[in-house]
């Protein structure tokens, strides 16, 4: 029962479809931006597209198509 006020507020907001759907959109956006950073970092450290793809659980083609264009290397 620690912090019941906070819990109730959070539950109420998370229960609102408008808030929930906006949060989903924000999570996707956040994941996309972090992915750009992480893929850039990995490439900078010499990771191959194949290694990055495996870590992300996607195909090499998918990760290359998504990120190679916005990066100067290949």
């Amino acid at each position: 029962m620690a912090g019941p006020t906070t819990d109730v507020t959070t539950a109420a907001a998370a229960d609102d479809p408008a808030v929930g759907l906006r949060a989903i959109r924000a999570l996707r956006e956040l994941a996309d931006r972090l992915e750009v950073l992480q893929v850039g970092n990995a490439r900078g450290r010499g990771w191959s597209w194949q290694q990055i793809a495996e870590a992300l659980g996607v195909t090499r083609q998918a990760v290359h198509k998504k990120h190679a264009r916005s990066r100067k290397d290949d």
Partner: protein, 177 residues
């Protein structure tokens, strides 16, 4: 269709593209038209200013309400965006989370909502066609933006405490609906 637009209205359309680019949006949304309208010297901008909407307050409302990284919504699920931001910046430097998103280059397309807003601006002229020359001015563009009832525009106006009706009233178009 832009041949019917006044000089000011064209400037708003061009300005909306600049707003979209600055906010790193992939498309020109109605809210970018709204932001461009706040800098308009003509009828549309005047209506916004008379309701207390200036570019700075509108832009910060758009960033708050419209950033895809919606801090309030994330907080409802226990995610503290500031902590995520701090972690990203610790690893990748200041502004890392913003830089993570590439700034769109070249031409930015209109979102469907903006296309409809521009169509509605033409409709706003036609409603008053007998009295005016038939040109689409910045006031009509603002009426068009209001007419499409874009959720983000509505949230921004609500945050700024501006009722759609009072803007339409300023433009002498309270009979819009």
């Amino acid at each position: 269709m832009f041949e019917r637009f006044t000089q000011e209205a064209r400037r708003v359309v061009v300005g909306a593209q600049a707003e979209a680019r600055e906010l790193r949006a992939e498309k020109i949304e109605p809210v970018h038209l709204l932001l461009a309208l706040t800098e308009d010297d003509s009828r549309g901008g005047a209506a916004l200013r008379s309701c207390g909407v200036d570019h700075e307050s509108a832009r910060s409302a758009v960033v708050r309400a419209g950033s895809p990284l919606d801090a309030d919504a994330l907080a409802a699920f226990g995610i503290d965006l500031e902590q995520v931001r701090a972690a990203a910046e610790a690893a990748f430097g200041p502004g890392a989370l913003e830089q993570g998103k590439p700034e769109p280059g070249g031409h930015i397309p209109f979102a469907d909502g903006s296309k409809r807003a521009l169509e509605e601006s033409l409709r706003a002229v036609l409603r008053r066609g007998r009295r005016r020359g038939g040109a689409i001015d910045s006031g009509h563009v603002l009426l068009g933006v209001l007419a499409v009832a874009d959720p983000l525009v509505q949230r921004v106006l609500a945050e700024l405490g501006v009722a759609r009706g009072s803007l339409e009233g300023q433009l002498g178009d309270s009979s819009a609906a």
